[in-house]
């Protein structure tokens, strides 16, 4: 019997998800033995035409990481969708939009101006920007179209399963691969991670006081974090109450609060709104009856960039999806 065919592809991403595959270590050899990797641009020399030549539906599963922001990415994921039985959105960017999704607070014109003109390391007095077509003596050069709005993978093509995380941890990747190989998959559309909030599995939960109150909000660099104290009790915003668990608490164990890369639990649509709700209701609880609106506003001044903080990984998948276009 021939081995199941597997593809990996990357869109708007940092390459960390590719690293995560390598981080499987010896397990990667087990995977490589069990499957045929037919497409993996970062590691193997296959081209788009090789994929085009495959029969529709002949790839058992495509793991696609990264958000969708250019016409090229859009075209490639449509192609892979056609050729694949299953598509797994791999990592935060494909699942929620991720860090590249923060571009949705801007638009193409603003991003081009910043990146190709005003950034201090660039000199571009003529304001030359990338064009989709450029005529040169040898012919016409083309580049993909860069969109105003970053999309998640499932806003572009149908997605069967989601592997969350920035990047997904090795145990969840292996769990997903084994489930696919054994044909023991849960309901289509499932996020392949536990459906609990991070606070439920957090090693600092035992230090969490019975009644949490944030009288003053601090940023992580303003506090010497006590490894035996809940971040919220220290006044540091942590998105643990609203974020899905399963990450292995990597940030918490490294002394950093949660920023929501695993997305929300199943019943929640908008992680940012939920986290905002949870954090806001903790502000000055001890003295809530006495706290004036002016004092409340002053406390909120310490949250320098609320939208960027609460929607750090999930802006394109949120209810509002992007900054309003006027």
């Amino acid at each position: 019997m021939s081995k199941p065919k597997v593809a990996f592809y990357w869109c708007a991403s940092c390459g960390g998800c590719e690293e995560a595959v390598i981080d499987l270590n010896e397990d990667l050899l087990t995977v490589a033995d069990a499957v045929d990797i037919v497409f993996w641009p970062v590691a193997l020399d296959f081209k788009k035409k090789d994929v085009e030549a495959m029969e529709d539906g002949s790839i058992a599963v495509s793991f696609i990481n990264g958000a969708i922001r250019t016409s090229e990415q859009e075209e490639m994921v449509h192609l892979l969708r056609r050729k694949s039985g299953l598509v797994v959105a791999f990592g935060s960017c494909a699942h929620l939009g991720g860090i590249p999704g923060l571009a949705n607070f801007h638009n193409k014109a603003e991003i081009f101006e910043r990146v190709y003109k005003t950034v201090p390391t660039v000199t571009n007095p003529e304001g030359i920007y990338p064009q989709t077509e450029t005529k040169v003596p040898e012919g016409t050069l083309t580049l993909p179209e860069f969109y105003d709005t970053v999309k998640t993978l499932d806003q572009t093509i149908d997605v069967d399963y989601y592997l969350p995380g920035c990047a997904p941890p090795p145990d969840l990747i292996m769990g997903a691969v084994q489930a696919i190989l054994a044909g023991e998959l849960p309901e289509r559309g499932t996020v392949l991670a536990p459906d609990k909030a991070l606070c439920d599995t957090c090693p600092l939960a035992e230090y969490k006081p019975e009644k949490l109150s944030m009288s003053q909000i601090k940023r992580p660099h303003e506090v010497l974090h006590d490894p035996k104290q809940c971040f919220l009790a220290e006044g540091i915003i942590c998105l643990g109450p609203a974020t899905r668990s399963g990450c292995g608490e990597r940030c918490i164990n490294a002394g950093m609060p949660c920023r929501g890369c695993f997305g929300p639990t199943r019943e929640v649509k908008d992680l940012g709104a939920k986290a905002l709700s949870s954090i806001a209701s903790l502000i000055g609880i001890e003295e809530e009856e006495e706290m004036t609106e002016e004092e409340l506003e002053k406390a909120l001044d310490n949250i320098v960039d609320p939208a960027g903080l609460f929607f750090m990984y999930s802006l394109p998948s949120s209810v509002l999806r992007r900054r309003r276009i006027k």
Binding site: F105, E145, Y147, D148, T149, V268, K269, D270, G272, A273, K274, L276, S277, I279, A280, S281, I283, G284, E288, E289, E293, L296, E297, L300, I303, D305, P306, A307, G308, F310, S318, V319, L320, R321, R323, R324, I325, K326
Partner: protein, 140 residues
Amino acid sequence: MGTDSEPKVVAFCCNWCSYAGADAAGTARMKINPHFRIIRTMCSSRIDPELILEAFSKGAWGVLILGCHPGDCHYKNGNYKALRRVALLKRTLAQFGIEPERLRLDWVSANEGGRFAQLVNETIETVQKLGPLNLHQEVT
């Protein structure tokens, strides 16, 4: 929520004070601008920011949240939670390019029919000046 030619305000009213206040306004036959829909909830703290964003994304021009006056909450402190959430959400909305004035939190007791009418009229007037939000236009 219909077309975008007329203002639409979603008014979330708590069951114990402001919904009764809306009733009082109706019983007294007060004149109220009709461009609003009431959604009755048990407490102003039930209005999760997620629901407010949902209202905006589905075509609301404005969202009005009415709860019990501070100190009067049926559940003791729900309105203080609502106050904190709305204050933080307004700042966040501004970053999304949504005018914070489109979201208003205020207090109406069961016998303040006049106050209910006034707040609804003011909110509709505010969003009428701002116009529709037009979110989610297809963009590339």
